[in-house]
Symmetry: C2
Subunit: 289 residues, 2 copies
């Protein structure tokens, strides 16, 4: 598992552009770095279930800064990828990342909303989305829109986290409150940080068939220092830390309590500490009828 | 995964004998049935990491009613098993179960406390314990006592749950309170229902080496009706239900609130429901020096 892969240099970006206020983690360069670290650490875990034949027409809906895109391309050589995102700025970063790490890949970039993609029905053999559904106010509507552009018999792969799966040793009340703030902020923004557990009913409600969901668990303790560093600290704690300003602005916490929560969380990465988190991977099929 | 294996007929037992008041789930026949269902459903998951060569001297510490014993014997033919438990009554049930399901097995039964086993140092090649540590007031002392009877280079396998790993859809506040009562009762009895996450530091503190812990996750949704029945309902909900009288007696809840919690929990086994739980399996070695 790679934890130290450097991400390509990327242009600085304003902290929170007005047109993207619903993305709870913000759009800073630190955030892009965090997403890169997270994707590199988790690549093996999250992409293990995805194998698309060369020549497949694949849509990545909500590619963001390309953190998963480069892994999707590395794991599936020869695919014809369309990568779409709502943010022109994220898309620009994704292009730079792919140009640096997979310059020969066949990628079409699309700036637009996954609910209103301009592609004809059944344009794709496979649809892939990772850490996208958690941000949508109506995930069933989003999935149904993606079903339209998927060919009958084609598959959709959905990967999401679930912050309710985070537990650790030693526990701490401030740490728990801090995670709750993250979930609360995501709810206030119209999303759901506990969406992993809902993938089966959501995909079923959106008209998909043969819905198969598997937890993809990360567990880190003293026997796995690289995972403690790459996941507990640089992925999970970093994600919680990334909402500090927003949690304070929303009046959910004080600087002292938030920072106490981070200090408590970090003990899970210290001597004798352990950390558990579950992602969920769903694969489903667009019915032929 | 077997979910319907009938358990052998067993004598009725008083609800809570005075000498066993620290076993939070009680000793009723319903409880013995629940333990049998649980072990059968989970056998594949929990015993996948255990493979002892024929002829190995294996100690099962805290065999209880033999729910795991029969699976241990089935998965490891030819072992020379010593099964120990604090409760003479549980041991009697375990003997009946093994006589019915593994009549040819080489088993020595020992009635006694795992902290004070009368065996010489290094008597065993392997030690196995499942759902035992969660009940001990001082799990490090228990593990250290077991280390003594394990030969240098021999392995210990420890399997425990962690009720903090339970999350489900739909969530419900009464369901969450009801699970919390179970954890609270176990703490009041000197145990820890959140012990799974602590296995690595506990085994390390008890002087074991090469401690390796893996989560063993159960996730059940509408695509897996046998697991919904066998695990969500007959293992987890049944376990929570088993502490109803005790939770009421301790003044933790009202009958209405407890029953509302069970009703909410059961929705995770209904249409569109999902359920997640993580067991932890640790394997460690007694150092040679």
């Amino acid at each position: 598992m790679t934890t130290e892969t450097p991400t390509p240099a990327e242009p600085a970006a304003p902290e929170r552009p007005d047109d993207h206020h619903d993305y709870v983690h913000g759009y800073s360069q630190t955030e892009a770095q965090r997403l890169g670290d997270q994707a590199d650490t988790l690549a093996e875990l999250l992409h293990a279930g995805t194998a698309y034949p060369a020549g497949s027409r694949v849509l990545e809906a909500g590619c963001g800064v390309g953190a998963q895109t480069v892994h999707l391309l590395a794991a599936n050589p020869g695919i014809r990828l369309t990568a779409a995102d709502l943010s022109a700025e994220s898309l620009q970063r994704a292009r730079a990342r792919v140009a640096a790490q997979a310059p020969a890949a066949d990628v079409t970039w699309h700036h637009g909303d996954l609910h209103r993609l301009p592609f004809p029905d059944a344009s794709f053999d496979h649809v892939f989305l990772c850490f996208v559904l958690e941000h949508l106010p109506d995930p069933v509507a989003g999935l149904a829109a993606l079903r339209r552009v998927l060919r009958p018999g084609g598959t959709i792969t959905v990967i999401e986290g679930d912050h309710g799966s985070a537990f650790f040793h030693p526990e701490g009340p401030a740490a728990r409150r801090t995670i709750d703030h993250l979930v609360r902020l995501q709810a206030l923004a119209g999303g759901d940080g506990l969406i992993g557990r809902r993938l089966h009913p959501l995909l079923t409600a959106a008209g998909f068939a043969r819905v198969s969901v598997r937890p993809r668990t990360v567990y880190a303790d003293g026997a796995r220092p690289a995972l403690v560093e790459g996941f507990t600290l640089r992925t999970f704690v970093a994600m919680v830390e990334s909402v500090r300003a927003e949690a304070l602005a929303a009046g959910l916490t004080t600087p002292e309590d938030f920072d106490r929560g981070i200090t408590e969380l970090r003990r899970a990465a210290g001597p004798g500490g352990t950390f558990h988190y579950a992602f969920f991977e769903a694969v489903a099929v667009r019915p032929r009828s």
